[in-house]
Chain length 222, copies 2
Amino acid sequence: MSTQSEENYLKVIYQLASKDVGYINTSDLASKLDLKPSSVTDMIQKLDQKRLVQYKKYQGVKLSAKGEKLALGIIRKHRLWEVFLHETLGFTWDKVHDIAEQLEHINSTELIERLDLFLNHPKTDPHGDPIPDKVGRLNQLNRIRLSQLRGGEKGVLSGANDSSSEFLRYLKKRDLTLGTIIKITHFNEFDQSYDLEIGTENKTLTISNQVASNLFISESKP
Amino acid sequence: MSTQSEENYLKVIYQLASKDVGYINTSDLASKLDLKPSSVTDMIQKLDQKRLVQYKKYQGVKLSAKGEKLALGIIRKHRLWEVFLHETLGFTWDKVHDIAEQLEHINSTELIERLDLFLNHPKTDPHGDPIPDKVGRLNQLNRIRLSQLRGGEKGVLSGANDSSSEFLRYLKKRDLTLGTIIKITHFNEFDQSYDLEIGTENKTLTISNQVASNLFISESKP
DNA sequence: CACATTTTTTAGACTTATCTAAATAATATT
DNA sequence: AATATTATTTAGATAAGTCTAAAAAATGTG
């Protein structure tokens, strides 16, 4: 079995790895985990010994097959609990993440399978992220970052990459909820910002590239 | 805030205290927590410093008002999660305890209030134990131990004091489920055992004093 | 390419919660 | 009451996970 701390490392390594590929470096890991780099070095050496990651001195870490499986298991639990908190208990979008951070470490296969059944095998969490299945298979959704689009293109908001409450409240305030139809009316070269038209009422707004790179968009008819 | 370990100490001290009164001694606490007495001494000194218990050297501990409030909060969480596991997810009586041991340490007042609402403010857990309310008030049920009765008396099985799966499976196998009507046909002086008649089909069985002292009985018309 | 800067690792320290072994206090027995 | 037994506490050790400070390696710059 793994400790809570080990599980957090694996989860974060997985998340950082899904952006670009290759080895994750110590300082990125440290800042995401809110720890000092020296602590991270210690732990990844331990995880390497347990064959959960591959670690190369001064280069970084990546997950082993075993480590990835574990990480996906934790992500599965996290996202199923998020669905439960949102759908069953009525928590808002922006509050589920922090509580799920605790619940994801509860250890019981039967609990998770029963929860999955009770929730009717949901495919995505309240932020639009896909939920890995029992054996760790992840249905890669057909979606791209808003920042990969340019003027004139159009799509449906299908997820956010940053699940901090602050960011989610920012979105909510601007009616950027899951399922919203978004049309990019203009890309402003000078500051890399985007002018959008959202929903059906011709509402417009401008978002920074920062924000755009954290939003996922899928085809208009998904 | 308290650690998971501290919470377990407080919970167990509360449970032992509700049997007889006064100070709880180190070795009882140690055996219930499955730790060595020396570890217990260390921890209760720490809890005393935090003003969660009162500790007198060589005499034992009891909860302070603050400690009792915390303990009741943990018991509330434990029992609400048990109801959820049983009623919502369909776990059997004997499996809910171990998972609730983990869930009881999840920290979120809003989560517990929403769970309580979702479950429709249950009054007892699946073992018949009362659930403390938000402010730690516990509705003391009108029930006594089976071992306090003698031949001829009658009542309804309303709870078990030992929630180990082993004990609960023992009960299930003999149809001793919550709500069963029990009549004590005879008390056997020589080995302190009880002859019972249970349910409506004149089924009979004999249980040891051990078992009898772990069963709660309430009036026939509760 | 040599030096400066940044990143990473190592070494040593600290905290929490536990343990074992020894010392001390309380209780039981003769 | 003196001694034996049992319970409790103290002292010192250990493991996990973190930290700070110093050393070493990698990277960037003139």
